[in-house]
Symmetry: C2
Subunit: 222 residues, 2 copies
C-alpha cells in the first residue's frame, strides 16, 4: 500500500497549498470561516438554518453547502433566509477538499461577507484530514448518536476547536450521558469550546450565537 500512501501525501500537500491560499484570501477580507463537520444527520443544516435566521440582521453570512449527492441542504438554507448559499455536490467523494472550496468561492460575491460557514459532507472520518482554509473546525454530534463518539473518531475531535452537542431535547430517551460525552471529548481535546443545544426547541442556541458574534467582532477589530 506504500504507493497509495505516497499518492495520498501528494494529494494532501497540494490540498494544503490551496487551503493556505483560501486562508490568506479570507483573512485579507476579515472573514471568519468555520468548517462544520459531523456524522450524517447530526444537524449541521438545522443549526445553519437557525443561525442564518437569527443573525441575519447583524452579520453578513455566506454558506458553502457540501453533500455527496443532492442540493437539498443548499435549498433548505436558501429557504431559511440564506442570501449567499453555494452548493458543492461531491458526486461520491467522502469529504470536501480545498480545490472544491476554491471553485465554490469563485462563484460567491464575498464583498461585505463577515462569516463563512462551510458545511462538510456528513462523515466523521475523512473530512478531518482535509484543511479547507477555515479558521476552525466545529464538530457536531447529536444525543441520539452515543456519547463515545469522541473516543471512536478522535482525529475529528482533536482537530476541531468547538463541539456542538445537538438534540439535547432527546436527552433521557437514549443511553446518551451528557457528562460522559463532555469527559470523552475533553480526554481527546481539552481546548474544545462546548455548546449543548437543541435546534428543535431552541435551548442553548443563544450561547452559540454569542460565540459567533464574538468571533466576528474580534475579526472586525483585528
Amino acid at each position: 500500500m506504500s504507493e497509495k500512501v505516497s499518492v495520498e501525501k501528494k494529494v494532501l500537500s497540494k490540498n494544503d497549498e490551496l487551503a493556505a491560499a483560501i486562508r490568506r484570501r479570507l483573512s485579507e477580507r476579515k472573514i471568519v470561516s468555520l468548517n462544520l463537520v459531523s456524522s450524517p444527520g447530526s444537524g449541521k443544516t438545522s443549526l445553519l438554518e437557525k443561525t442564518l435566521a437569527a443573525l441575519d440582521k447583524d452579520i453578513s453570512m455566506a454558506v458553502i453547502a457540501g453533500d455527496v449527492q443532492t442540493e437539498n441542504d443548499a435549498i433548505r438554507l436558501v429557504k431559511a433566509g440564506g442570501k449567499v448559499v453555494e452548493p458543492i455536490v461531491t458526486g461520491g467523494a467522502c469529504h470536501l477538499d480545498a480545490n472544491m472550496v476554491t471553485q465554490a468561492l469563485a462563484k460567491i460575491n464575498l464583498a461585505g461577507v463577515e462569516l463563512l460557514f462551510i458545511e462538510n459532507v456528513g462523515n466523521l472520518v475523512c473530512p478531518s484530514s482535509y484543511d479547507l482554509g477555515e479558521d476552525m473546525k466545529v464538530v457536531l454530534m447529536s444525543t441520539a448518536e452515543g456519547d463515545d463518539k469522541p473516543l471512536k473518531y478522535p482525529a475529528m475531535f482533536r482537530r476541531s476547536s468547538a463541539m456542538v452537542v445537538n438534540k439535547i431535547d432527546l436527552l433521557g430517551q437514549s443511553d446518551f450521558d451528557l457528562e460522559r460525552a463532555r469527559k470523552n471529548a475533553r480526554t481527546i481535546n481539552a481546548q474544545l469550546h462546548m455548546f449543548e443545544l437543541s435546534c428543535r426547541n431552541g435551548t442553548g442556541l443563544d450561547s452559540w450565537y454569542q460565540w459567533l458574534r464574538g468571533l466576528v467582532q474580534a475579526k472586525r477589530n483585528a
Copy 2:
C-alpha cells in the same frame, strides 16, 4: 488527480480478489455473512447486542467489529453474550477492507459458525466501495438522522440488500417521516428489504430475527 484514481483502481481490484476468496471460504462453510453499514451512532452495535442475545440458542454466530479507534464495540458485544467476537481497529482508516477481514477471520474458529456479522466503521460513504466478501450489505439509519439519507448517500443504499430503520421509538420527536424515508429508499433501490424497529424498546425486532433465521435456514438447505 488521475494518478490517485489509477492507484485507487489497483487497490480496489486487489480488494476484490481478497473479497472473492473470503466469499468462497464462507460459502464452502455455508456461513451467511452480513456487512452492517451506517452513520456513526445509528445503532449497529445495539442491534447486534439484541440479536446475539435473542438468537444465541438457535444459531451459532460470530462478529467482526470494526472501528476507527477503541475496541468498545467488541467489548459491548462480548458482554451481550457474543461467543466469537473479533475486533478490527483501523487506526484512522474510514472503512474496513477485505485484507483486514481476511486477517480477522484467521483469528476466528469458524467451525460450526452459521451467521457472521461484520460491523463496519460508522461511515455512510467509504464502506460502500469495499466488498468484504459478504453475502449482502445491511444499511442502518436512525429516525434521529433525517429521512433524506438514501438520497444524499445513494451508493450505500443502492449496494445494500436490506435497510433497517432504527430508533422508531423516537418517531414524532423529530421531523423524520417514515413514509418519506421508505419512498426515498425505494427510489434508490426498489429491492431493499425494509425493517423498522427500536433496539431500545424491542418493537419490530421479531421480523428482523425471522429474516435472519430464514437466511440461515436457506443456507443450511442449500
